[in-house]
Amino acid sequence: MADNFPDLIDMRAVRSAIDGWFNGIVSSYGQALETAFLPVLRLLNGIEDFLLWVPWFVLIPVVALVSFAATRDWRMPIAVIVMLFLTGVLGLWQPAMATVALMLTATLFAIVIGIPVGILMSFSNRLQAVMLPVLDVMQTMPIFVYLIPFVMLFGPGKIPALLATIVFSVPPLVRLTNLGIREVNPEVIEAVTAFGATPMQKLFAAQLPLATPTIMAGINQTTMMALSMVVIASMIGAGGLGYEVLQGIQRLDVSRGLFAGLGIVFLAIIFDRLVQAYGKRVQKHLEAGNT
């Protein structure tokens, strides 16, 4: 191939070095890692099994009730009932539950990892300076690139899909947790300090509660990104609605792809509205803290 940029370094050597290094990791730690992540897999399967164990005519009213509790409005539960019912009618109940399980597990891990990292970032300008470009890379790197190492480590299946989903969906939560804490009214922080709060007391009495609306926005974005990842994750054996879409593409089956796509849209709407409504309820106390 004619290439008008000169070969300054022999990239083949560099690449084979990287590949060799990673293959080394795979062969020496692959088995250990797989065992280590077994509990995660059990959790994921547990959630999925539970969602499928609960009869649809119980699950739909429960979600509707939760949505009513969050919004205090009758429109949201009706929309929830219609959308979930349609999902079932379209024959997508089982894959939808698999997708929900994957998304919930990924979001759960994203929260457990993302919020503490965001808190640490807000305390240290140096850590923030290091983390922001890392987060940029995590968000701009094409998602497929994550799949390669995870698949190599774990083989195709739910665990690499879950891990790739977490990596892809955690950055907004880290960012917004950091931002939320940094933007807390400095006078409140000063007041809390002046009354002798330890750093931990300051965090739990003032910073986290006041940053909650921003953190909730981060959780919302994380769930949405996790959901958008399911189609791609299905390529490495995560199953669920993404797999239906994938089959639609492979078999040029328009209706199959379209219905599965609709199912994803329904789930996205339900989760987005639920998290937002819950965030607003939390926010109520915080409005107009200072006049």
Binding site: E190, A191, F195, G196, T198, L210
Partner: protein, 402 residues
């Protein structure tokens, strides 16, 4: 001042990349702008010395950027000084360990903020209990103690509300109650009433004065409002570009402004409400009843250029006055010895606020006699001297440093 509660010793604060480098410049007469230009450091405070007496309200005043908020934050070390010492009850605040500093903030120094600094997600009662909770009190005990403060500041019935549901004045009462709840002896109030509208502010000042009469805290109060400073301050310190311009009682500052900056501050003040009658009084010649003679009266009047001669008894208490205009009509010594013919005298105590004596001055034919606590005559206020005092045209300028 025998034993100040808070002593600030040559405290300087510089903000910038290398504060220590700029420190020597503070002792020269380089201005704030020159120091900024030469070193890139912003002068926050410049060699400030202050002694703050226990149990009094000490007001620190200045325009924005004068360093007053920086100064108050040194007392509980929300800001670290670049140089100098801050002593609270002989504890050097600057050298305190983290744990000891926390103790100081929990139990000895509390603070009220301009924009209240309340936690919007906590109810009034939980906001007030904040300091107690930080100190490790159980929830129920902290609430009990906080409830006493709720009643003290007149918020009973509102304790379950959230700050946003309250008006500004009520929110600041929460701030005040929160500061009182820790039972700290020192209360720092940073422009505590500046965000409130004038009527509410006046009420809050009154409430603070009432509370202070009861509690006898050491209050350091920051304000940019001279009327507020004069109303509540036992002592007032005026800061200009981080340096102390003047420190003294309100009256001292009004009567003897130390420099042009202080003069600009005091120009528009209603002086009659601040200064006492002694500041407006002039020395008047006195004479005992037995000494009365036309010659002597004429001599006294011309020698001291006075409007009247006051007749005093053996104790020095004024009993009557002979005015310069009337003495010419009767040249008979015995006429003036008759108490019926001399002018009656109105007496006011030396510590009366001038505004409260003005009606006496207006109604009395003779100047109003100013007397000390034993009724002895110190001087007298004529209509002219009262007007001069209110206009601020009397007295030489000298500064009183704290």
């Amino acid at each position: 001042m025998a034993d100040p509660k808070i002593r600030i010793e040559r405290v300087s604060k510089l903000f910038g990349p290398d504060p220590q480098a700029a420190l020597p410049l503070l002792d020269t007469d380089a201005s704030k702008a020159e120091i900024m230009e030469q070193t890139g450091s912003i002068v926050g405070l410049r060699n400030v010395d202050l002694d703050i007496a226990g149990g009094s309200i000490f007001v620190v005043m200045g325009l924005s950027g004068s360093g007053k908020s920086t100064l108050i934050r040194h007392i509980n070390r929300l800001i670290e000084p670049t140089a100098g010492r801050i002593l609270v009850d002989d504890t050097d605040v600057v050298s305190l360990s983290k744990a000891a500093l926390r103790e100081l903030r929990l139990h000895r120094v509390s603070m009220v903020f301009q924009n209240f600094g309340l936690l919007p997600n906590k109810t009034v009662i939980d906001n007030i209990a904040l300091g107690l909770r930080f100190a490790g009190a159980t929830n129920s005990r902290a609430r009990d103690l906080a409830m006493e403060q709720v009643e003290r500041v007149g918020l009973k019935g509102f304790e379950k509300q959230y700050p946003r549901q309250l008006s500004g004045g009520m929110q600041q009462r929460v701030g005040l109650a929160r500061a009182l709840a820790t039972n700290a002896e020192i209360l720092l109030m940073d422009e505590a009433f500046s965000a409130l509208d004038p009527l509410i502010r006046h009420d809050m000042q009154s409430q603070l004065l009432e509370l202070q009469a009861d509690l006898k805290k050491t209050i350091v109060f920051i304000t940019h409002d001279l009327d507020e400073a004069l109303r509540i301050g036992d002592q007032i310190a005026i800061l200009n570009d981080g340096s102390l311009s003047q420190c003294g009682t309100g009256e001292e500052i009004l009567l003897h402004p130390a420099d042009g900056y202080v003069k600009r501050f005091v120009r528009n003040v209603d002086r009659a409400r601040v200064i006492t009658v002694s500041a407006a009084a002039r020395k008047m010649p006195t004479i005992t009843c037995a000494e009365i003679s036309i010659d002597k009266i004429a001599r006294l009047l011309s020698a001291e250029d006075a409007q009247a001669v006051f007749i005093v008894d053996d104790e020095g208490q004024p009993t009557g006055a002979i005015s310069a205009t009337s003495v010419a009509h009767h040249t008979d010594d015995s006429y003036w010895r008759d108490p019926k013919h001399v002018l009656p005298v109105t007496r006011v105590s030396y510590d009366t606020i001038l505004a409260n004596a003005l009606s006496d001055v207006a109604e009395s034919e003779a100047p109003v006699a100013v007397v000390d606590e034993r009724g002895r005559m110190i001087g007298a206020i004529s209509r002219q001297s009262a007007l001069e005092a209110m206009a601020g045209t009397n007295g030489p300028s000298n500064s009183a440093k704290c």
